[in-house]
Symmetry: C2
């Protein structure tokens, strides 16, 4: 635990790599890397286990920089440690198509675990990573086989501490007693607006105590390296609480302007950099320098990490022999493969089956799949009975000491509490850990609370499943405060997010099939509260394509296409019958449960579904916003809903076969002299 000149030199090397990179890109945040360099050096050289040559080793310690704007700290450490982040990459910090973007993204940079920068996200991701670690340890560890026993280390600043998402996650972590999580609070008293005194004077340590965390304070984290390490080692001994280490640091330590908000963002002045380099014993004329003795410290540590992974490999080889079944299972999951034939468990339905809400078909699907997919981990933001997310045989994920029924850390059902935003970010963390597929629910309308994290699921390519029930005015009496209107437009507009609004049970199964097999894409299941019939022509293979013809009614060729999703598809089929019987009009009904998937089909297929030459009317009981892409005319709800029994509300807004027929006839009339092109046809891609 003794620290030498080489450690101080290492710490200044880190600071200078950040300073030089930010100067070169003329953009970035040097203050936090300079203040946090001592902690990061200790973590990467004395505490954490990792192998830079295999950043995906399952039992590595995870490092999360929740204040992602400080990412030059992380990039510098990854470079020093020998990850595939070269000095040249550092020199291209924040430049186009570099490996070192403005905020950390795991798909861009080896060694980055989760996408951070949007404040509070990384902290909540870290809680998710800790949940995954606890769960996998409980599931796979055996006497003498600590297969999973790593730690999650997370740094966060004032910005993260102020964000609600971090509060939610901290409260959940305290409840769950995640002692594999050690979070460092960078208490530097500075934010963009100035001294934290201007908006943030709470007692953060007391707050974390209130959440049930173990807490430590290091008064001078600029200099007291021994104190930092000792605090971490005390946290390693805590058995039933997550740990907070509050570090009093100086932002921009070593700059002339240290401790002020002027060092938060942007490059340091040239003379300030020169003075820093001179004081630290570096050549003021040179940049991007790593002294040899520093290089060696990090190389030695990397060798230790590589050796640790080798030891683990040996342990796991013995484990596979002595514990064949879990060994085989974990091997499969580490390879990111689903078990052979798992999809045979997807439920199928026929029109003779009873009316049933898609939130229920979703629940039945989860129950079928959990039996063959042990990696499935479900949950809800305190709407378990409404979201149908908990299968009957589920065991809750809870700290064993609580004695809540049979619950323990091997349980696969998480009670996230009324914490939608943190729930989504925790799911991102669970997915990022690997070997697990998280799914969890709330009402569609309250998925908006989680928007910040859901977009990061899509950006960072996490296979996460959002279960969004009560998807429209069809929820009835709860009224406009709970009825989604704009929500589908919002989530459909997010790139790489599959939004599914299935019309029945088979479409629900199709949605889960695609969700499970899309390893780089999150999915959202948008599900009805009200009961719906099982359609004549819905079959999983068709629905998997995102859009298909579900009915051709009356004379052919059809005079109109009705394109719809979810609970309105059956209304459109009734409308098609009415068009035939009352008006002698032939029509086609298209179900379009997932636009993202439909768009991935070849053009011929899409044109075979949305025909050229006949008008197309969309029908969906939410905002029409965006439907012009797949239809010529739109019937929807471009206002807030209303509180009342579901059938009364549908009738008020004319979401009935009669209401659809009225608009279909107007559409046919409008296009009678000018056959429109299919919406699939475009002038350019």
């Amino acid at each position: 635990m003794s620290y030498t000149e080489t450690d101080l030199l290492s710490i200044n090397t880190i600071r200078l790599l950040a300073i030089d990179a930010i100067a070169k890109s003329n953009s970035g945040h040097a203050g936090a890397p300079m203040g946090l360099a001592p902690l990061a050096h200790i973590l990467f050289t004395r505490i954490m286990s990792f192998n830079p040559k295999n950043p995906k080793w399952i039992n590595r310690d995870r490092f999360v920089l929740s204040n992602g704007h400080a990412c030059m700290l992380q990039y510098a450490l990854l470079h020093l440690s020998g990850y595939e982040v070269s000095m040249d990459d550092l020199k291209h910090f924040r430049s186009l198509d570099s490996k070192t973007p403005g905020h950390p993204e795991p798909h861009e940079t080896p060694g980055v675990e989760v996408t951070t920068g949007p404040l509070g996200q990384g902290f909540a991701n870290a809680v998710g990573l800790a949940i995954a670690g606890k769960h996998l340890a409980a599931e796979f560890n055996r006497p003498d086989f600590d297969i999973v026993n790593n730690y999650i280390y997370c740094i966060f600043g004032d910005g993260c501490a102020m964000e609600g998402i971090a509060s939610e996650a901290a409260s959940a972590a305290g409840h769950l007693q995640l002692n594999n999580l050690i979070a460092f609070y960078d208490d530097n008293h500075v934010t963009i607006d100035g001294d934290t005194n201007c908006a943030f004077r709470e007692d953060v340590v007391m707050r974390f105590k209130a959440y049930g965390w173990h807490t430590e304070v290091v008064e001078d984290a600029d200099r007291d390296l021994e104190g930092i390490e000792a605090a971490i080692r005390r946290c390693h001994k805590v058995s039933d609480k997550p740990c907070l280490i509050s570090l009093r640091t100086t932002i921009g330590f070593g700059s002339k302007h240290q401790g002020t908000c002027s060092v938060h963002s942007g490059p340091l002045a040239a003379d300030d950099v020169k003075a820093f380099k001179t004081n630290a014993g570096f050549d003021p004329e040179q940049s991007f320098i790593v002294p040899q003795e520093v290089e060696k410290v990090y190389q030695d540590r990397a060798l230790e990490g590589s050796e640790k992974e080798k030891q683990w490999d040996k342990l796991f080889a013995r484990y596979q022999q002595e514990h064949t079944e879990p060994g085989t299972d974990l091997t499969r999951r580490m390879a990111d493969l689903l078990p052979d034939g798992w999809q045979k468990s997807l439920p199928t339905y026929s029109p003779k089956d009873k009316l049933i809400a898609t939130r229920e078909t979703s629940g039945l699907t989860l129950d079928s799949l959990q039996a063959v997919l042990p990696e499935l981990m479900s949950g809800s933001a305190d709407l378990t009975p409404s979201n149908n997310t908990r299968w009957p045989s589920a065991i809750d994920f809870q700290p064993p000491g609580l004695r809540l029924g049979k619950s323990n850390w091997s349980g696969r059902y998480v009670h996230y509490g009324v914490r939608e935003h943190a729930m989504a970010a925790m799911m991102n963390g669970i997915a990022a850990y690997g070997c697990l597929i998280p799914s969890s629910g709330t009402f569609l309308n309250f998925m908006s609370y989680a928007a910040g994290a859901i977009r990061l699921s899509a950006l960072s390519r996490m296979r996460v499943i959002y279960i969004a029930t009560h998807d429209s005015i069809g929820l009835g009496q709860d009224g406009p405060t709970h009825q989604a209107v704009e929500t589908l437009a919002h989530f459909r507009a997010i790139p790489n997010l599959m939004v599914w609004r299935p019309a029945d049970g088979n479409e629900t199964s199709a949605a889960y099939y695609v969700a499970m097999t899309s390893k780089q894409t999150p999915s959202m299941m948008v599900l009805s509260r009200q009961n719906l019939p099982q359609l004549e022509n819905s079959i999983i293979e068709k629905a998997m394509r995102g859009g298909y013809v579900v009915a051709e009614v009356g004379e052919s060729p059809a005079a109109i296409t009705l394109v719809s999703t979810g609970s309105e598809v059956c209304i459109c089929i009734d409308a098609a019958l009415m068009l035939r019987d009352r008006h002698g009009v032939g029509s086609r009904v298209v179900s379009l449960p997932c636009w993202e998937m439909f768009d991935r089909q070849d053009k011929d297929y899409r044109l075979s579904v949305l025909l050229d030459g006949i008008p197309c009317l969309s029908v969906e009981v939410l905002s029409t916003y965006g439907w012009e892409r797949y239809s010529h005319e739109q019937f929807g709800l471009n206002r807030f809903g209303a509180s009342g029994a579901y059938k009364d509300v549908y009738k008020k807004f004319e979401f009935t076969p009669e209401g659809v027929v009225k608009r279909a006839m107007a559409t046919i009339d409008y296009y009678k002299d000018a056959a429109p092109r299919s919406p699939v046809n475009r002038a350019f891609l």
Copy 2:
């Protein structure tokens, strides 16, 4: 402070009104109203000042039920107190077009202050109401003239306590020392998923202490009426802290299933209701009964309230004489009028003016307007220097004891901290108080964190101004984590929210003009980080219409319309010149800064902007989602952005005149044999 049988009878009357209404509608939540009836009775008969005949009296105490699902409690109290909520309204609880929707909405029900139900919102609204009260008191009170001295009373449950938005708001309230806020925590140990033990075991009282709140605990709030009242009166003596009173209550008190989650939602069983009525001395065969002595208690209290308002009217009449200027100002603001000629202060620009980002023109507009609109209250979620939200002469809204510069409670600039969601909800509270127009900023991308509150601005018709800067990949190096893509689609799809993306200074002024004069509509200003030219043909009066022709270039009639917003309009104008010079093609450029406003124009005008018979290409550097509504072909960004210098990133994605020309030529070619209808033409409304 003595309580009699009549009080107990009153409390049971409240419980039974809730029970009967929920039984009749077969929907709703009886548990919380039953547990909270004692507190509500005390508040409405002994504590709060209000006049049911004038629910808008400016100095009334405000009551916020943050756990809005318990709204039958509030409706019962409003009815008993003599607000325009009849017994018939209670009998139509949760039925279509009633005054008693499933969750409270101020525009539906007299006496309701803010829209609650989405958990945590009401709590944060209450903090906003308290900010408004503190500010107006500091601005208008004079020795012997306590014009504004009311309290904000807020009830919240476990659900609200778990939501991040409430944590953010509580931290802000503690910092701001809002001693006019008294919040009651309904500590009933039950949520939808069961006992709070399953997800929520933190020490809420300690947490609020950490935020800097005064705290009180009432151990038996089912029975200890004196204890509740005494705690409130102690809070009235606290001079420098908001107050939390934690009440240990029993959910569904009096039901056979009290204290369990089975009484959280849905009606009580018939036999349970009968037993309750019999025990409470009511006729088990009758429903919706208010005993005469109970009626009298509430009528007497209403008279006291009416009398208090009369006293206040007298005080204010004297105030207007002795303090003419503030008296006139407050009178105007209470009438919800803007000062004559205020709009003359809107800045105007000419093409000779320098290039300047719209975040800067927004800042200049705020600075001009603050001088003539004392009701304008600005702020930022810790991005003050980036959002340009603080005018140079601004004084910060801060507790006077802090001695931060000249700041005090009369200041009009709020440092909300990194708390986007609570910021939006606090602004809703400030707007709901009256006499103030809140505006505040963050990056467009992080407005998503506030989505839950922003939709409620629109639903509850609050004049709130969101300042969303750094509106695209144009922010450059911060990269995809900070670059909005789906965000405009999301917010444009919200009914009654005006999303403005001005192209230059005049359009910015137009946006503020419409925002200020739209008393029932929130606005979002979507603003560039990068500099933009002042356009030739932008004038405020045109831009106010939401869309207009900004350029006609080359041969007429034009072969194509380029429709665009914000930072891409000037690129389209350059493209139009290039189309003329390189291809001999005439084109029209339309700026469409606000869709919501454009849609409100008559059809002739809209058709004069988006012509029939020529193709229309939209150009906007965000998701094309939704643009099909105003264009035939779309050029946008249907993927996440990239980290790099702004010009490099624009070039990568071809947002250059050349990139626009390429797509314009493809569009012209595609439509050369079939002149398309204007997107304004529709088969039906």
